[in-house]
Symmetry: C2
Subunit: 410 residues, 2 copies
């Protein structure tokens, strides 16, 4: 008898047939004696349809009113699932964000959860009901409907699990777990039985789009065991949890993440004076451009080179800003490159193992892949390489760190 929060995304509830399948799955858990809170997204495509409707009225829909419209998407799916459960003889009740009361701040379209009233849900659970909650939405102090921003249903699930002190928060997706890397790139990629929150954060932010970053942060903060599972296939999935035992058996590297969404900009021959980094990056962030990696080399002849990466969509804008800065501070030139890729090895195990970075560089060197930038954190090493070598690099690293073979005892 466990208390489980289950979250199903838009594809899992994308049709009446799918909703019936979800009801079958929920019933199976209920029949096994678990208490269940189910969090749903809108049917896939519905949120976009609603936003499109609003855009027909205004290019910049009023955020408060947009939330009123968009929140109807989940309102439909929760009631449909509750009906499907009741049809199966499983007592169930649906709640909107307002009805639960998921209290958020008033930042419409990107609100943050402040507090969850668990009273209603606990009463229903005690009465043997499955509680079906609309994800992605809440209500502010004045009773205005808010939404958490795209993908926010994961966060709703985790927040509910935290508030209810649930035994597990299960996130059902279209993959059967978190992999050592993208199986489309490396056919030997292995599903991980376990991964730590920190590793998952690095994997997620680096482009393994299984879970929303905020949901993982939230789960880590409140220590909610999170499990990623496939909506319609059986399997144990991947459990995301705190790093309890730092055993010797633990693999050094859990996975290899990558992305090709970034572009690189370099400003050369910058007079090396204090505050120069701020002079360069201040205008970039002033233009609302997010910067990912930053590398500054040691200077020679009192000038230095300064390189950073931005999202490819922001490349042109960043280039323009940087040109202006170069003129102002008297830098020699600005160059850029959009044909790059970032590859990262991630693992809490590297904390206690020396030589992880050099093993990475060696594997890349063996394939004659030139490294353009390097950045490291406690549990990750990232390199920027030429985009065309991406697949080769990921495969080489996957083998070098012994991720190809199924691992025992996990």
């Amino acid at each position: 008898m466990a208390l489980i929060v289950q979250k199903f995304g838009g594809t899992s509830v994308g049709s009446v047939e799918r909703i019936e399948q979800v009801a079958d799955k929920v019933k199976k858990f209920r029949d096994a004696g678990d208490d269940l809170v189910v969090v749903l997204s809108a049917m896939s495509g519905e949120t976009n349809r609603l936003i499109e409707l609003a855009r027909q009225i205004s290019d910049q829909p009023v955020p408060r009113e947009l939330d009123v419209i968009v929140s109807t998407g989940e309102q439909v799916t929760i009631a449909l699932l509750a009906m499907a459960l009741i049809k199966r003889g499983v007592p169930a009740v649906s709640y909107t964000g307002n009805q639960v009361r998921i209290l958020t701040d008033s930042a419409h379209n990107k609100a943050r959860i402040l507090q969850i009233d668990d009273q209603k849900i606990r009463t229903d659970l005690k009465a043997g009901r499955v509680v079906v909650v609309a994800g992605f939405q809440g209500v502010d102090e004045d009773g205005n409907i808010t939404t958490l921003g795209r993908g926010g249903s994961d966060t709703t699930g985790v927040a509910l699990a935290a508030a209810l002190k649930a035994d597990e928060c299960q996130i059902y997706t279209d993959v059967d777990g978190v992999y050592t890397t993208d199986p489309r790139v490396v056919s030997q990629a292995q599903r991980l039985d376990k991964i730590t929150f920190e590793e998952m954060l690095e994997m997620a932010s680096l482009g393994s789009k299984v879970l929303q970053i905020r949901a993982v942060e939230f789960a880590g903060k409140y220590n909610v065991p999170l499990r990623v599972l496939h909506s319609f296939k059986e399997g144990p999935g991947t459990l995301i949890t705190i790093d309890e035992e730092e055993s010797m058996e633990q693999p050094i590297i859990s996975g290899i993440a990558f992305n090709r969404d970034e572009a690189k900009l370099t400003i050369r021959g910058v007079p090396d004076t204090p505050g120069v980094a701020f002079k360069i990056l201040g205008p970039i962030s002033g233009a609302n451009i997010e910067v990912d990696m930053i590398v500054q080399n040691v200077s020679h002849d009192n000038t230095t080179d300064f390189t950073f990466t931005v999202h490819r969509n922001d490349y042109q804008a960043a280039l323009q800003v940087l040109q202006n800065t170069a003129n102002e501070i008297g830098a020699r030139e600005v160059i850029g490159d959009t044909k790059i890729a970032k590859v990262s090895i991630v693992g809490v195990g590297m904390r206690s193992h020396a030589g992880v970075a050099s093993r990475m560089f060696e594997a890349l060197a063996k394939e004659s892949i030139n490294i353009q930038m390097i950045s490291t954190s406690e549990i990750k090493v990232s390199v920027v390489i030429e985009e065309k070598y991406l697949e080769l690099a990921v495969r080489a690293l996957h083998t070098a760190f012994e991720l190809d073979a199924p691992r025992q005892g996990e």
Copy 2:
């Protein structure tokens, strides 16, 4: 500076273009200095789409959950209109039934309004905002979403007007007012400038489907001046109000209503004993069949004939029930006819005028139309005739009661 509640139905908000037109109209009133509360239905077709979705899960959707789904229809239109108003520089805010707080009983799918909290709306009106409210929905004491049943948006409009003591409740429709009779049958049918609540009730229940009956009752009870107008054509519409001055100029008859939805059943040779009417109608109502007109003739030879009308859809079921009853009570025979029509003359003026009925019968006799049943109330006389004479009868009565010519001074 008046406080006006305006209600627009599904066709009036059936597309983004229509919603923009409604916004133009609302803005015009606002610019003229009126305080406005706008009540909206769902986009036409949307409620049926949502019900269909629920039916795919279950033939008998759980009423509570059906309300959760169906209420999203209005939630979308109110936000779209609020956006369209704000785009025009008119401050506006949308509220669901729950947000206003339109408190209802817990009879899901057919709830009744118990109380309306006018505080939020008054604050917004004072701040110069147009308040856009979802029609057809409310919330019960436990926070469950309820709906008022089909067409309930009219009721929401009237109830809000009553709660706010509004100067007028304007119901925008696809007709430009209430007519003396259906213009498709009588080309000389005249728009009425005014009609009393009682007359409107008789007209509505007899098939002039301009307004929902419950909304008219509500308006009459709380004395809310109600005006029927065309959504997209200019014009004064028809004001529905209490019968203030019973002047001599008042026409005897305000209008002629008719319908061809009914069927007639007669049970003949019924032993005339006390309680026989109940023995006949008890099983009918027990089968959930509504009865409209009932006529019992004086008996002769200790037997009587008993005739009543039901909706045509219920004819076969009623016939079966009546056959059984006839066998039980030893009646001679059961006969029925679906090819009938009901024609009624309606007017508060007939209270003080004798001979209205005979003038009606005379007009029908002149056209050789046989009257099969007669029933009367204080402000109405109804007759059942053969269906094929319906148009002829309505035209003859329209002329006989001098409704053909435009009337002065109303």
